[in-house]
């Protein structure tokens, strides 16, 4: 299919813990992946991206891991904070796709 799926629709973590949000993608030809964060009532905000020639990329408190063998993408958030509470979407695309495919999203709840 063309959709990008997510393993966990809802994730609850304790403040200060690390969070891992997973995403399974179905198009083996996808070569570019993005994670977005969407807070309630707002538009999705770019977090981090990764190309298929990489298997890991780090940002500020976030790390994206790409496993092309099993078509799996994950977003790791270190020392999760209340402000991290949001819905996280993964997206995939490729040169000949003509559009981005978005997963259904994972809601991250950070408990104080």
């Amino acid at each position: 299919g063309e959709s990008v799926g997510l393993h966990l629709p809802t994730l609850s973590v304790q403040e200060g813990d690390n969070s891992i949000i997973n995403c399974a993608y179905s198009n083996s030809a996808s070569d570019y992946f993005i994670w977005y964060k969407q807070e309630s009532g707002k538009g999705p905000q770019f977090i981090i991206d990764i190309r298929s020639n990489m298997d890991k990329r780090q940002g500020q408190r976030v790390t994206v891991l790409l496993n092309k063998t099993v078509k799996h993408l994950s977003l790791q958030i270190a020392a999760t904070q209340p402000g991290d509470s949001a819905v996280y979407f993964c997206a995939e695309t490729a040169y000949n796709f003509n559009k981005f495919y978005f997963g259904s999203g994972t809601k991250l709840n950070v408990k104080p």
């Binding site: 070569d31 570019y32 993005i34 977005y36 707002k42 538009g43 999705p44 905000q45 770019f46 991206d49 190309r51 979407f89 695309t93 490729a94 040169y95 003509n98 559009k99 981005f100 495919y101 978005f102 997963g103 259904s104 999203g105």
Partner: protein, 115 residues
């Protein structure tokens, strides 16, 4: 630098009416995308415009249409509104899509409520 801007922020229409939503992309971006997001759900691809032409279309009926202007801004038109059209309509922009790896950036969206 200004991000993607959308207007109006909120819009309330009656069933059967028409709605027009507007989007201004990031300066320098030529591609504009429209997505529909029903409350609590994921993003559904509507339309993609680049250089004034429709490049791709999602699985939506013809009453969803749009256009892109010479300055790359875009508008989305929804005719014969139905109650289930109530959603957040998100616009995004990017550099020319043909180069894989061009991130798309979203606006804050326009909330359309059909009553």
């Amino acid at each position: 630098e200004a991000g993607v801007t959308q207007s109006p922020t909120h819009l309330i229409k009656t069933r059967g009416q028409q709605a027009t939503l507007r989007c201004s992309p990031i300066s320098g971006h030529t591609s504009v995308y429209w997505y529909q997001q029903a409350l609590g759900l994921g993003l559904q691809f509507l339309l993609w415009y680049d250089e004034g032409e429709e490049r791709n279309r999602g699985n939506f009926p013809p009453r969803f249409s749009g256009r892109q202007f010479p300055n790359y801004s875009s508008e989305l038109n929804v005719n014969a509104l139905e109650l289930e059209d109530s959603a957040l309509y998100l616009c995004a922009s990017s550099l020319l899509f043909s180069s894989s790896g061009n991130t798309i950036y979203f606006g804050e969206g326009s909330w359309l409520t059909v009553v």
